[in-house]
Symmetry: C2
Subunit: 231 residues, 2 copies
Amino acid sequence: MKTTYGKKYISMATVSRMATYLQCLTYLEHQHTSTVSSHELAALLGVTPEQVRQDFSTFGLVGKRGSGYDVVRLKTEIELIFGRGVDRWKCCIVGAGSLGTALVSSHMVQKWGFKYAAAFDTDPRKIGTHIGRIPVYAVEDLKDVIRREHIAIGVMTVPASSARKVADLLCEAGIRGILNFAPRVIKVPASIPVLSVDLSQEFLKLAFYIQSAEQRAREQQAQIEATSHGE
Amino acid sequence: MKTTYGKKYISMATVSRMATYLQCLTYLEHQHTSTVSSHELAALLGVTPEQVRQDFSTFGLVGKRGSGYDVVRLKTEIELIFGRGVDRWKCCIVGAGSLGTALVSSHMVQKWGFKYAAAFDTDPRKIGTHIGRIPVYAVEDLKDVIRREHIAIGVMTVPASSARKVADLLCEAGIRGILNFAPRVIKVPASIPVLSVDLSQEFLKLAFYIQSAEQRAREQQAQIEATSHGE
């Protein structure tokens, strides 16, 4: 996905890091930390301090020489970059299964200004019920509800087999962006951003890190043994 | 997290891309595509062809000049890099709530050689039941079950308040890696890789992409109008 900020091209990796800085700053604010240096942020994220400064300068964020960044101010500025405060990120869930329920029930996204307004399902036993305070509607009502409620983001937690149909429905309803948890590549007009989340990739990455860590441990052990034999 | 492959340092971004290549290759295999060029893979991922070739050469994967990469062979080679085929990625879920249930019920991870062997919870109504075929044990039995079943990966879907206690228990049990869905930073010995997944970050990123796309659309519209006025 090609993304811009003002006239600048921004890589997806940069956007990811900005979201992680925001998470770190929220943590630091809770800890009543007032200032943070690029070195401290770099250590928290596992990147270089130069990377932190470069990321911030891309978005026009500057610290004070010597004292670093003001935590609350920097957090507020990054929130604005992510559209916080505009109060327009109404979300809907399509697919009220266990993952859909988990997402709606989690209060994690609310602190960033996102709000679930509706859920949709095809199961007659679920239609008309609520998940927490969120009403579950029939998928047939998707377009009407999205337009009436001015829903911006469609979160797809449907099986792979219905992913494309649901994506088409969301686009016809005028959705502004899609978060896709269905294990299927979906095609929508280029003007509508889609972010696909594949949780199985996190398992793959972790498996890689485990192997790498265990390999390093074996090598260190071998080195220790070689050294002690050489004595 | 510092990661190595052989003697080489590997960035987390590279590991992420490798997992995405694997997903793409699986898709291409299903489509009965026999070969793929670095240009085609680059287009699917939204990166440059140079990036694809650099990533593959890091892991010693080479294509044929002119005909590109053999899909099935490349997929098998990347699977091996991720530890597929070693049949040792037994997983457990700690926290049998809606997210835990969603993860265990999803069959997405099984195709990569991961297998859920146990779930743990503190709720007496859940202990002794099953999620699909996976037994739900009491958290008190966590260490015994992990050791007995040789479970490699602990997936934490517990509330923030119990995250640190559960992480300690997993480490004491000899877990090899942790996938943390709890919204809390956890500290474990450096030898045990932890991958924290914060789904709210995906919402933030999507909000950024939406704003960026809508800003571009407005600019293009303004340009069209300016041009037509100038005629």
